[in-house]
Symmetry: C2
Subunit: 630 residues, 2 copies
């Protein structure tokens, strides 16, 4: 099989719907609001509906041509607001794709661009004096279609969840501990608006990325995860780059960061954004550094500014901006075990000390805000001084920068620019709460977006696990989005399977956080799984899992026959030792006597009252005092 064929096959594979699943669209009140969800049809007739990040790719009815891009679901909403205008846009340069200055005719770049001609769009920007951010609308009391879309999406189908959970005792016992979050029972469009207006949530949605299915990041919403992708050393085709994206969102990436460096990154970005239903984030300093040949000290505000506009015109939804790496903080890192480990942070540190000047991102922060609000690009204020080891966790450098990020948040908010705050990194478990507390204190509840954190340093090859522990905890404590870590962290570039492993580990962390916080109904899918387990509905167990194929493959390693999928036992204990089966026997026994099990037992006990009298008083002591104190 030659390479293009193989890619085409991969892309077909990633478009395959999940087992027993179909895409449904829930309409909103505003025109064009059609919110996609995944419906899982169980073998017992029940239906489970889950949040779906995979976009049109898993909808067999969707006609997708990746050389034309996805349908622009938001275009009419953006246009209807009447505050934007098409314009010529910045002139393209060979430099944008890593060509040399004046080197417009690089044949390879031209060929790649030509291949993607169908993906070119004329950019939009705010009309003079206008501000097109979702925060700006929110603060003026406007509930945008994006906000309504998000409200429907966050609620999911609460009807089935409520029905499913049902039991009052159980719900009271399992009630979550929101750790200070204020999660309403139902997410209304107005609630979304209010959270965005307060800055407590962001909707990353560049007006030049109309293909995005709106989503929200904030502590009172479901915990989100981000997956990172990057271009290959030799970018071979649109298919290859788009396939990485589709693969990431298939497994649950809520946003994707394109961390490409080197050649062809402008063109690759066109391919990714035009085909992405999830927000795309970038770190613009990477491309700016390419433009100055990799020499940090040659960076200038002008080159950086030009790069921001270039990427904003393409439709990037959020920018990591390391404006908190201030000159006076750099010496605080010299006694560290691992110095500065953020790429962007180290580039800016080098620039600062070479020139003995304050970070130009800090000194030009107001001008950056002007660009952000003309396209509605969201800030992801980078933690360039985050710890790169447990040894450096929560140190003076880290918290000095965090405090600065809080100050910058206030400036961004003056411009009505949406803002989130990046966080570590490497933090032992007992120091995680302090990270959340300090972030809330200094950054005024702007959404926290952390990388892990890794709880230990001695697990290379397994850092997705070492960090999923920290991620679940900090997610519970209030972090709004978790940036994944793959098994290759600290070792090499993740391949396709590493990306999947990282995403699944982070879906686990995020869901564990949602359940612990008590997001209404989020436990229902777990409950449906448990019921399927008790009733030996194997196919339903696979379908309800985060990775149905792997679950089924593991099951089949021991019991491959189709008949085993209906068997009332499994390979772990076998039929004789099956506790679930024995429990059912207990229930059947009671039923055969025409009694509830409790009655049957009580009756049995009554017959033997003398025997039980000595202890009887003890058993029915109300155990309320023992229950969930969480």
């Amino acid at each position: 099989m030659n390479a293009p064929d193989k890619l085409q096959q991969l892309l077909t594979l990633t478009r395959e719907p999940f087992p027993q699943s179909s895409k449904v669209y829930v309409p909103g009140a505003q025109p064009g609001v059609q919110v996609p969800m995944r419906e899982i049809a169980l073998t017992n007739g029940e239906t489970v509906t889950v949040y779906d990040t995979s976009g049109p790719y898993t909808d067999p009815a969707a006609d997708i041509n990746i050389r034309q891009g996805l349908g622009p679901v938001r275009s009419q909403w953006v246009a209807a607001r009447g505050d934007t205008e098409h314009y010529e846009g910045r002139a393209r340069m060979a430099l944008d794709d890593g060509g040399k200055h004046g080197d417009v005719a690089d044949a390879r770049i031209e060929a790649l661009r030509a291949e993607a001609a169908g993906l070119q769009r004329q950019p939009l920007r705010a009309k003079a004096g206008a501000n097109v951010t979702q925060m700006h609308y929110a603060r003026r009391g406007i509930v945008t279609p994006e906000m309504e879309y998000i409200a429907i999406r966050e609620n999911g189908k609460r009807e089935w969840m409520r029905e499913y959970l049902g039991d009052a005792e159980r719900e009271a016992r399992l009630r979550g501990n929101a750790m200070g979050a204020r999660i309403p029972d139902v997410i209304t469009p107005e609630f979304v608006r209010d959270e965005v207006a307060r800055g407590r949530a962001v909707i990353p949605a560049n007006i030049n990325h109309p293909e995005v299915e709106p989503m929200i990041i904030g502590r009172n919403f479901l915990v989100k995860i981000n997956a990172n992708i990057g271009n290959s050393a030799v970018t071979s085709s649109i298919e290859e780059e788009v396939e990485k994206l589709v693969w990431s969102i298939r497994w649950g990436g809520d946003t994707v960061m394109d961390l490409s460096t080197g050649k062809n990154i402008h063109t690759t970005r066109d391919w990714i954004i035009r085909n992405s239903p999830v927000p795309i984030g970038t770190v613009p300093i990477y491309q700016a550094l390419e433009k100055v040949g990799g020499v940090a000290e040659d960076l200038t505000w002008e080159i950086f500014r030009d790069t921001l506009i270039e990427q904003a015109e393409q439709g990037v939804d959020y920018f990591t901006i390391h404006a908190g790496v201030r000159l006076p903080f750099i010496h605080l890192t010299t006694q560290r075990r691992t110095g500065i480990v953020s790429r962007g942070g180290s580039i800016l540190a080098k620039w600062c000390i070479t020139h003995h000047k304050e970070n130009f991102l800090y000194t030009h922060f107001d001008e950056i805000c002007e660009i952000m609000k003309a396209y509605d690009v969201t800030f992801s204020l980078g933690d360039g001084l985050r710890p790169g080891s447990a040894a450096d966790a929560n140190d003076e450098a880290q918290f000095a920068e965090l405090k600065t990020l809080g100050e910058l948040t206030q400036i961004a908010w003056k411009h009505d620019v949406q803002t989130m705050i990046e966080g570590p990194g490497h933090v032992p478990m007992h120091m995680i709460q302090a990270n959340m507390d300090e972030q809330l204190r200094h950054c005024h509840e702007a959404p926290f977006y952390t990388l892990g954190p890794l709880t230990i340093d001695i697990a290379p090859g397994y850092d997705h696990i070492a960090s999923a522990i920290g991620a679940a905890m900090i997610g519970w404590m209030g972090t709004a989005m978790l940036c994944y870590v793959t098994p290759k962290e600290h070792l090499g570039l993740p391949d396709r399977d590493d990306v999947k492993q990282g995403i699944i580990a982070y879906k686990i962390a995020a869901h564990a956080a949602d359940v612990a916080k008590g997001h209404p109904g989020q436990r229902a899918r777990d409950d449906a799984m448990s019921k399927a387990r008790f009733e030996f509905r194997w196919r339903d167990q696979f379908a309800l899992g985060l990775d149905p194929q792997t679950a089924e493959a593991y099951h089949d390693e021991t019991l491959p026959k189709d008949s085993s999928k209906e068997a009332h036992f499994c390979s772990m204990c076998g039929p004789k030792f099956c506790s679930m089966k024995i429990t059912q026997d207990v229930r059947d026994y009671a039923a055969a006597k025409g009694l509830s099990e409790e009655q049957a037992l009580t009756e049995g006990m009554a017959q033997k009252s003398a025997e039980f009298k000595s202890v009887g008083g003890e058993f029915y002591v109300p155990l309320d005092s023992l229950k969930n104190k969480g």
Copy 2:
């Protein structure tokens, strides 16, 4: 390659020392106390010493013949106490190996026994009236060689750790939060004795298991992990069974439970125990059930008692005993989502309701204690009513049983029998603390030994991760031992790689807990790793990791050449973007000017004092208030 050859090769592989590692033995004051540790020689001349569970297998100097068993390191200590006697022992029965009653001549069983003739030992028991438990000695003020051994083992080589960590600011910042544990700076033999005397720690060490390298389980010691193994459907050879054990301890299993069922389990157990340097636990009800043909209601106290003696004579170090599954609690499980999920729990529940009688393990608990103290078998009081789903977490049935386990602990302690308490299972994050609190409250600080807990139910295929999150948290909160969960949980039987994946995930959880609790020096290995990262000592990074081979293989996927192992960059960012390199450049820049970096920066800043004046006052505010509040 034929099967025996392949097994022989596997066994050779598992005996291979870890890279850059050698076994060292630290002597104690009492005769025969030689505590094994693993010493990792780094390429920069430093030496890192780590806790080593792998036994003599990773010592190339050890002469091991698995048909004769390991050397009996404890024999002289047991003999010296003068309170035991050899005796004929229980007569063997075909039933012990799953043969039919009277079926002594089963040819296959005989063949297997013959193969292991070199592993037969005459059993020891306490002399009439004697009590040979470590708790009994501890309460009489005796510091046994086992206790001294453990003190040395738990301390490790604190000298290098202290030297390594050094920096006072860092140590103050990272000081752990012991969550109520009282961890001394140095573990003395007397401290070990005192903890065992109080029942706060156990030393599972049957007098018939002299091969064991003593270890301790308790909240004031390092967090331990258990791995489960079981016999194959068709047990083919001693090599196969022993290899599973050796594989488990290689990756860090502190104890191993043999959960074999079916045929040949008595003989297999001989093979395992005689070759095991770690304590072996079992669930005797499994074998008892085999003896009554799998019919739970046919179980009797006499058959169970006989099985306890059979296994105690073989040298099993701890028994899971489900004495808390009381008749009056069973109806509390009927409204559960997943009923009773413990195999032992469901067997006993069925027995109880069929006979309308109280659990015979509960009614005969004192007699069980008499057996335990004659061999020093430790109780692991089973949680037969543990939740099998998040929906059932922390319910009345679970906590009623827990309270009973606390009462039984008091009875066991009257007999000076060592006791630990098993715990769940499935618990969402926000309900974990309540589990620990209730256990501490009702079980008087007897060590807690939990299975996970799994924090969510929707991750079949990845339950090692879903549960490592819960395990790390409950380990930090005070759980003394974590029973691993493999990726195959809920799906099938773990294979060799699943066992490894489960163990590594749990080593991560346990180490994360140790670091968070602030066990003195436990961070040092992480710190050594971080230093190796900053200095691009790739080989040292691999050697310091939990799984050196995997780390190296991942690294080599992108940069396979040997020269890359010395490269001052890696594949993730490449040389141009390397933050570590840039940080070094910063330091070099300062050095070239003959200044410390801080001075260089300060000087630079002084030159630009006017520029910085406006903000200067802010930077040197002491940030103590921001630091670790953990």
